[in-house]
């Protein structure tokens, strides 16, 4: 035990004295709240405001009332576009063509054909197109209703079947994107924060010729690996806690009520999140140590690592594409934790059994990786590549 404490103390000293590595490690924690704050602000603005849409209108003079109606919905003729946005809206090139016979047809009660031209495949245009369509339809219905009322008919006759929509979403569901992002960031923090320390204490030590000296000492390689694992994991845990605290703090500055959402990370959520993520910190560090001990240099380890750190971003993304998730996805590392966090954020009851199973499985894989790394450190191949 004394040996382990000595090994661990030395790892901590080295890690915390490497200011650049520590800064890089905790950068993630500082980036996350800024990003989440920015993206939320933007999303709220999009959801709440109706930014003006500019459409080129032919024959505007024939339908002044329609134009007034559109204007009320922030749909304006292209001639009114401010200079700064002109190029953009000209390129988007949406056209509304009003026939010359508009006024006469309206008077005669004949159907009027307005033509709307736009590139429907353009993603950025989907909202403007939807809004123009709705606005015109609403205008048309308004005239229709007036005509029917004039004829003394109850407008309710027009809607014999009504679909009453009841939104069963939990109020918090609207803040889903924020929590989804937070979940992703937490996973990334668990993976990224300990990374530089893990590489430095393995491939870095090898490059600095201190690994051979250590391997010649009367200490088992398992203890060596465990000490390095505990150190890198500690940094990862600090990264996760910092990300969580700073994000909760940052989100409290966003007025989520504007989009009917609340985002409340209470003590229970925080402690459950930490419980979920703690094994992941150890798992990620063991994975990083395993790979970087086999790299010949710091650089090689870094390029290998780029593949490992894709995992926390890739797995949750893949999960969103799987509709009928097989049960084992609840158990395996990363995906299990990712799903648990999703449930937690949706305020669904947390399945403690799933938490227990995924934690156990993660810990077991971590231990297996430690054993494998320690075993490999004893192999001649590693020793021979030392020089």
């Amino acid at each position: 035990m004394n040996q382990f404490i000595a090994l661990y103390k030395k790892e901590l000293k080295e890690a915390f004295r490497d200011k650049r590595a520590i800064l890089a490690a905790l950068l993630m924690a500082f980036m996350a709240p800024v990003m989440i704050f920015g993206i939320s602000k933007f999303a709220i603005k999009e959801a709440v405001e109706k930014p003006p849409i500019y459409v080129s209108i032919q024959g505007a003079a024939f339908a002044p009332k329609l134009l007034t109606h559109l204007k009320r919905d922030h749909i304006l003729p292209l001639t009114a576009v401010p200079k700064t946005d002109r190029a953009l809206w000209q390129k988007r090139n949406m056209q509304l063509i009003i026939p010359t016979t508009y006024a006469d047809d309206l008077l005669a009660g004949k159907p009027i054909k307005l033509i709307f031209k736009a590139d429907y495949s353009e993603q950025a245009l989907s909202t403007p197109i939807r809004r123009i369509k709705q606005s015109v339809q609403y205008f048309s219905r308004l005239i229709g209703y007036k005509r029917i009322v004039m004829r003394g008919i109850d407008t309710r006759l027009l809607n014999p079947v009504q679909l009453e929509q009841q939104d069963t979403a939990v109020p918090n569901n609207n803040a889903k994107f924020i929590s989804m992002m937070l979940g992703l960031y937490l996973l990334m923090a668990a993976f990224m924060s300990g990374l530089s320390v893990a590489i430095d204490s393995s491939a870095g030590e090898r490059e600095r010729n201190v690994l051979e000296m250590l391997l010649c000492q009367p200490v088992s390689t398992t203890k060596i690996v465990l000490a390095k694992l505990c150190c890198a994991s500690l940094i990862a845990v600090i990264g996760v806690v910092l990300t969580l605290t700073l994000t909760t703090f940052a989100v409290s500055f966003i007025d989520l009520t504007k989009i009917g959402a609340t985002f409340n990370v209470d003590a229970f959520t925080i402690s459950t999140l930490l419980l979920i993520l703690l094994p992941i910190c150890f798992f990620s560090s063991s994975l990083q140590l395993f790979f970087s001990f086999q790299a010949k240099s710091f650089k090689e380890a870094q390029s290998m690592m780029s593949m490992v750190i894709v995992l926390p971003a890739l797995v949750p993304l893949m999960l969103t594409f799987i509709d009928n998730k097989p049960v084992w996805l609840n158990w395996v590392p990363i995906s299990g934790q990712s799903l648990l966090m999703e449930h937690l954020f949706k305020q669904m009851p947390v399945s403690w059994l799933a938490l227990l199973v995924t934690t156990l499985l993660t810990v077991m894989i971590t231990l297996a990786l430690v054993w494998l790394t320690a075993y490999k450190l004893k192999s001649e191949k590693i020793v021979l590549s030392l020089s």
Binding site: N2, I5, K13, E14, D18, R208, N209, C216, P218, S220
Partner: protein, 244 residues
């Protein structure tokens, strides 16, 4: 005491060691001489238990390295081929680290560290971080961390490489003192004068085998030369070399 019996090691088709045997006794400095690639480092790495012998055995104080590597390492002080330092630790912390790994603790550990710092005249650098240390200073730290637990056996792999005269002298003086206390010192080197001046016995290794052994004077006599360097070249170079 270090005993090596018929050590054999192949890396693929290359025979690194083909039946090397020698003994390094307590209270003596034994030098290993050999051309590059003779198998010196391979042999020493087997003593540390980093490599496993295909055949033969290495015993340190009677303990088989292959069977009990950790017990063997506890009786060894090691000055490896390539040594680096933990550049973010001070010299003191580094020595302390290795002392703790060897199971030392408390006041006795503190005393041992202070004593070795004193002996190696490194008081001035003890509390400085080792980044930027000169080659001589690095050698001192490595020496101190290898010997802080006062091991019975001390193995050095080309320790004087890159050292200036002053540092080499400090090393020699220290090794002589260590020998006088009855420790066993095994020392690989390329520098003939050094081996001649320092070693009680010399082992010449060529092609993974023992080519000759004896005191520097015996080797010179054996080869019929007055200088150890000439004797060395003759012993390893000639087909009719001395059959040892």
């Amino acid at each position: 005491m270090i005993e090596v019996n018929n050590l054999q090691k192949n890396f693929g088709k290359i025979h690194a060691l083909s039946g090397l045997s020698f003994t390094a006794k307590d209270g003596e400095i034994t030098g290993i001489l050999g051309p590059n690639g003779a198998g010196k480092t391979t042999c020493l790495r087997m003593l540390y238990g980093l490599l496993k012998a295909d055949q033969g055995s290495a015993l340190i104080d009677g303990i088989n390295v292959a069977e009990q590597p950790l017990q063997v390492r506890a009786r060894l002080g090691i000055f490896p081929d390539k040594f680096g330092l933990y550049e973010r630790l001070t010299a003191y912390e580094q020595i302390d680290y290795f002392a703790s790994i060897h199971g030392m603790q408390g006041a006795s550990k503190k005393h041992a560290i202070e004593q070795i710092i004193e002996e190696l005249e490194m008081n001035e650098i003890a509390y400085r971080r080792t980044r930027g240390f000169s080659q001589g200073q690095r050698m001192k730290v490595t020496l101190a961390q290898a010997l802080v637990h006062q091991p019975q056996n001390f193995v050095l792999d080309e320790p004087t490489r890159g050292l200036d005269v002053m540092s080499t002298r400090i090393l020699r003086r220290y090794l002589a003192k260590f020998k006088a206390k009855g420790h066993c010192i095994l020392f690989s080197s390329h520098v003939m004068q050094e081996v001649a001046a320092l070693c009680d016995r010399v082992i010449i290794v060529a092609n993974g085998k023992l080519a000759a052994e004896g005191t520097p004077q015996q080797l010179c006599d054996l080869a019929g030369e007055t200088q150890l360097e000439e004797a060395f070249v003759k012993i390893i170079g000639s087909d009719e070399g001395v059959a040892a």
